[in-house]
């Protein structure tokens, strides 16, 4: 009898998991006792963290994507068929083609989507860097602004203690904007205002989603002449008047609104019926150690779709994948999962255009900020320009 493992989602998490599972279960696969199938909605694999560089005219679309088939071990059965329907009770999913796919183990790695439409006026009045088209528009604005005001806003999911996408991105891009405007020679005529909401997971009235980093941010912003304001939870935007209003009753005018928008899970996950997330956000209830979906014995979830408090970022997925792989392999071989995720996230933050800062944290420890430096930036550039494609193949 063949054990069918179905991986849904061709992003970082799904690709790494499918490739690493193939090598982990190679004896079973060549013996016909296990089979791995991947379903994705696209023949392309996008390097999502690279999108923020598009806003600074440093990446083009063809540099951010590769053919998914070329990134997968050839033993993996890859199908371009977006999943429209999860039927957990009968262990099967339905593709957009109408075809049903049965599984013994399912890995859900469908990521999340930017949802600026969830804040009135943000879609029309704001820009973000979580796809390709929006940062392309933002790039034009950043390259042409001569004077005025750039407002940065951050919106968290409504579900308590769930972060927005890529926790470090708002400060990263704020510093990058500062550097870009200095290079263009217009920084003294453009005001940069960084705002942060009142509730940011467990932090209240801070400037970042972790207390330690939140406390050092004012000194960084002060040294660069960046203004900052706590307790600004974006409520609505007037795109005509170019004014952003907060739930706390304050407002800011802007020439460019660079927003970290609300996010949600993909439609099929939202409508799966097992999410307890608020506001139809769709995050799957996740066991923080085994990474199984709570209440389901044969479904694992990783990446942006989880309801965990750790970052929705590639640096989290890279640490979650080995746990899911080990647990599926050990369930097949000895009947129980053996690995536990400790919440570890690793990344190199782009602190301005020329500096980088390696960082890590987990369930027990917060990020300990260190001085950003050029070596960090070169490491990040190396990862952006080639390291990533080795990582998703499971080679690093």
């Amino acid at each position: 009898m063949t054990t069918n493992i179905l991986v849904v989602g061709g992003g970082s998490g799904g690709t790494m998991t499918a490739n690493n599972l193939t090598m982990k279960l190679y004896p079973e696969i060549v013996g016909g006792k296990a089979k791995i199938t991947m379903l994705s909605d696209s023949p392309w694999h996008y390097y999502k963290p690279g999108s923020l560089y598009v806003a600074f005219s440093r990446f083009f679309e063809n540099e951010l994507r590769r053919k998914q088939r070329n990134l997968l071990r050839p033993e993996i059965d890859f199908r371009v068929d977006a999943v429209d329907n999860f039927e957990f009770a009968s262990s099967r999913v339905q593709g957009r083609s109408g075809k049903w796919y049965d599984y013994d183990y399912l890995v859900v790695s469908t990521g999340c989507l930017p949802a600026p439409e969830r804040i009135d006026g943000l879609q029309e009045g704001g820009d973000h860097f979580y796809d390709y088209q929006s940062p392309l528009r933002l790039a034009d604005k950043l390259q042409t602004i001569e004077k005025g005001r750039i407002l940065i806003t951050v919106s968290f999911p409504k579900t308590p203690n769930v972060p927005h996408q890529c926790g470090i991105a708002p400060p990263e891009t704020t510093l990058m904007v500062d550097n870009l405007l200095r290079h263009r020679g217009v920084r003294d005529k453009v005001e940069i205002v960084y705002t942060y909401p009142t509730v940011a997971q467990t932090v209240r009235g801070g400037l970042f989603l972790q207390e330690t980093t939140s406390k050092v941010m004012p000194s960084i912003f002060d040294s660069m002449g960046i203004k900052y304001e706590r307790n600004f939870t974006l409520d609505r935007v007037d795109p005509e008047a170019k004014v952003a209003y907060s739930e706390e009753g304050t407002d800011h005018n802007f020439d460019i609104l660079m927003a970290t928008p609300p996010i949600r899970a993909v439609d099929a996950v939202v409508s799966s019926g097992i999410s307890a997330a608020m506001d139809d956000e769709g995050w799957l209830p996740t066991d923080p150690e085994t990474l199984k979906v709570k209440g389901l014995t044969n479904v694992y979830v990783l990446g942006d779709t989880v309801d965990l408090r750790i970052s929705k970022a590639g640096g989290a997925v890279h640490q979650q994948t080995p746990v899911v792989v080990d647990n599926i392999a050990s369930e097949i071989r000895i009947g129980r999962p053996t690995a536990a995720y400790d919440g570890r996230v690793t990344a190199i933050a782009q602190m301005g255009l020329e500096n980088g800062m390696p960082l890590w944290y987990d369930y027990e420890h917060e990020v300990q900020p260190t001085p950003p430096n050029k070596l960090g930036s070169l490491m990040r550039a190396s990862f952006n320009r080639g390291g990533y494609w080795a990582v998703v193949r499971g080679l690093i």
Partner: protein
């Protein structure tokens, strides 16, 4: 290192160890490091480490995003090559090892008729053509200079 230099270094280290901001644990850690560094200092081997750090610092200073981009392109192409060859070798090895006996000549011809085999052979022949066009049709040494 002159006697004055050694004296200055010792004084600096002693001042570091004795300075107030260092905790007991940090002092113990520093002492441990000094114990390890001492033979390197005595034999002049630490100089090599300093020189190596100097070279590394120069490389970081010289490197820029363009250099990284070009270098990582080479890295990605190398990974692509390794990926294609190792995957193909693993799959082919697995296929061959499960053959009960080697295929006959007719069996080999039948294999060659499969579309994926023909595509693979076409890739090999196209690669040979590219190598011929790019590398083998001219001499690597200028004959006029002979």
């Amino acid at each position: 290192m002159t006697t004055e230099d050694e004296l200055a270094l010792r004084t600096t280290l002693e001042r570091l160890i004795d300075s107030d901001p260092l905790s007991e644990a940090a002092s113990a850690g520093l002492n441990e490091v000094i114990d390890k560094v001492e033979p390197l200092l005595a034999g002049g081997r630490l100089n090599r480490v300093v020189e190596l750090l100097s070279v590394l610092a120069d490389v970081v200073d010289l490197a820029d995003t363009h250099m990284i981009e070009h270098s990582m392109k080479v890295f990605e192409e190398a990974v692509d090559g390794y990926w294609s060859v190792s995957n193909a070798a693993r799959m082919a090895g697995n296929e061959v090892i499960h053959m009960k006996e080697p295929p006959s000549l007719l069996g080999l011809l039948r294999m060659a008729g499969k579309p994926e085999v023909r595509r693979g052979l076409a890739l090999i022949l196209a690669t040979a053509g590219a190598l011929g066009r790019g590398r083998l049709v001219y001499d690597s040494v200028d004959p006029a200079g002979a």
